[in-house]
Symmetry: C2
DNA sequence: AATATTTTTAATCATTTGATTAAAAATATT
DNA sequence: AATATTTTTAATCAAATGATTAAAAATATT
């Protein structure tokens, strides 16, 4: 009889192969549209091994979701926590980092947004962990900048929505945007590189006091 | 033996009840996560009636998807086709229309974006039908405005991505944005109303020549 | 080398799920 | 009213799917 969990410390390749296959398929197609048999095939392993290592499809999915979510949110959070950088610098850095990240992981945002809609409560605690102190830091930095007259008194919600929206939206709406504007794949990548410089400028004018 | 399709012209309530239930569930949860039995229950009808009226889950879904897609794209397209309005006026109108529309149909954008990723080819023709002439009109209006020195020479892709992104993104990322910024439901609605005025201003400064 | 433990496999189970069928009920037609 | 047609229902089917089992193979331990 197989034991429920592998006892040895040796993180063999099988477990990792399953996780990678699961990450790919879950991220691409979501939970319901992904079959455990597809994961097994993609990983090149026997179907039973999936349950041997992860107990159930749901448990495997939860692991993938959590890791995806962490990776997605870390970029923003991490950056805004830095001391000794101006708001401008943070914005520039976060946009540049994210565009590179999204170029490598184009399916991640849609996955996250879907799962967030389906499990709003489950991720609430996770968000708190990840961005709890970030919010405070960001808000105080905005307040100081506003008091110094460097920026107008924009609602932080607008800033976050615009900053993340301008950065992420082209990736999640890529098919329709390319179709509508007639942009090729190569042009798309070029345009994304342009946006590394443009978005901070756009955000800056939005923030400017007047 | 039941006939394949209802022959009478009388568009009874049963068919419509099924469609409405299907629209609600498909739009909320997507194709794979929606069970035909859930649709039947939501519609308050016998499961067999779904197949009696629509032949299969897939066929029913295709109908819903097409209608959803049309509704979603019409707003943009329709507006930009109008003659006798300036670019400014079009932008202001499209943003205002869309924010009202999204307030009523918050699940639509994520549904569309998901399905577009899953069926890029199937909707290609549909997009062409819907926005074929719109693109030409928009591009020429942009070109004229640029030649007259009224706007800078921004790539139309950036304009579309920013305009739609700024408008739509807050709705699809609503849970995470509210969580991160601590905004309540009421505040969210207020902020969306603010954006009706703000987004056109932001877009205008992006477009301004300099 | 012998034994114990872990990992892998093929076969199978139980449930879910989309779809069908045949009969009953409701409605329309003559 | 009698008959034909359409709509609805309950029962059932067949395939898909997540999960389990028992045995075999591989690996580790003594």
């Amino acid at each position: 009889m197989p034991k429920a969990k592998p006892v040895t410390v040796k993180e063999a390749s099988t477990e990792e192969k399953i996780k990678e296959a699961a990450r790919k398929l879950f991220t691409q197609k979501g939970f319901s549209a992904t079959r455990t048999r597809d994961i097994a095939e993609e990983a090149g392993i026997n179907l039973a091994l999936l349950n041997y290592y992860f107990r159930s499809k749901q448990k495997l999915f939860d692991i993938i979701m959590m890791e995806n979510f962490r990776q997605f949110i870390r970029g923003i959070s991490f950056n805004f926590l830095e001391q000794n950088t101006t708001l401008d610098q943070k914005i520039t850095k976060v946009v540049s980092m994210y565009i590179d990240f999204l170029t490598q992981n184009p399916d991640l945002p849609l996955f996250i947004l879907n799962e967030l809609r389906n499990n709003p409560e489950q991720l609430a605690s996770n968000i708190d962990d990840q961005v709890g102190s970030t919010r405070a830091k960001l808000f105080s930095q905005l307040k100081i900048a506003a008091e110094e007259g460097k920026i107008g008194d924009i609602n932080p919600f607008h800033l976050m929505a615009n900053l993340i929206g301008l950065t992420v939206f082209p990736f999640i709406a890529r098919p329709i945007l390319q179709k509508v504007t007639g942009v090729t794949d190569n042009q798309f990548n070029e345009l994304m590189q342009q946006r590394k410089q443009q978005i901070p400028l756009w955000i800056k004018t939005m923030l400017s006091p007047e």
